[in-house]
């Protein structure tokens, strides 16, 4: 069984300040982990993915995430928020190989205040 918990449904930051979106997971397998971003009325876009090659993963638009097995966490960070970062972010866990069993988190809405 696998699950993913996004610890905050809403996060509000000022433009230019750091962003932290938290995600914890559980998985019976060696998981693949992903972060997706969704702007209003749009599809989901992949930000970054962890596939066991490196624990610190860099993605698009200056985002990065660190896989911490001991904490079962995969938090998303960005040093300086931009207005265009305002969107909903989804943490996703997937079993590796075979049919891809994918579990989405409930999502975190990021508000960026000018």
């Amino acid at each position: 069984a696998q699950s993913v918990t996004q610890l905050d449904s809403h996060v509000s930051v000022s433009e230019g300040t750091p962003v932290l979106l938290r995600c914890n997971y559980s998985s019976s397998y060696s998981p693949s982990l992903f972060w997706y971003v969704q702007h209003p009325n749009k599809g989901l876009q992949l930000l970054l993915k962890y596939t066991s090659a490196a624990t610190l993963v860099k993605g698009i638009n200056g985002f990065e995430a660190e896989f911490k097995k001991s904490e079962t966490s995969f938090h998303l960070t960005k040093p300086s928020a931009h207005m265009s970062d305002a969107a909903e972010y989804f943490c996703v866990v997937s079993n590796s190989g075979g049919y891809q069993k994918v579990t989405f988190g409930i999502g975190t809405k990021l508000q960026v205040i000018p």
């Binding site: 009325n41 749009k42 992949l46 891809q100 994918v102 988190g105």
Partner: protein, 114 residues
């Protein structure tokens, strides 16, 4: 490169009317295909997935059905829509042969049932 299309982009339908949403993928062969529904404040719910032509698996019992008449075509249908069918419907594909296979999402269809 691969692209995924969904149409229509928006749809307003009366209760009891039929539904047909279409999704097509270009630039890849034998993809895994998925239908998700996103209701307000409820994250993404996997409705159906398909690993090949004519092979459909349903994740949750519901008023909807899916079909895959061609390798890169995935259709979501209903004979009689319910109010609860309103939501944002997302189609996605993944590469069946990739070990760490992230999903790629279409632009979505906003369905409003009145």
């Amino acid at each position: 490169s691969q692209t995924i299309h969904q149409w229509p982009a928006t749809l307003v339908q009366p209760v009891g009317s039929p539904l047909s949403l279409e999704c097509t993928v270009e630039g890849t062969s034998n993809p895994n295909l998925y239908w998700y529904r996103q209701a307000a404040g409820r994250g993404l719910q996997l409705l159906f997935y398909s690993v090949g032509i004519g092979q459909i698996s349903s994740e949750v019992p519901q008023n909807l059905s899916a079909s895959r008449p061609q390798d890169r075509q995935f259709i979501l249908s209903s004979k009689k829509l319910l109010l609860s069918d309103s939501g944002f419907y997302l189609c996605a594909w993944s590469d069946r042969l990739a070990v760490y296979n992230e999903q790629f999402f279409g632009p979505g269809t906003r369905l409003t049932v009145l």
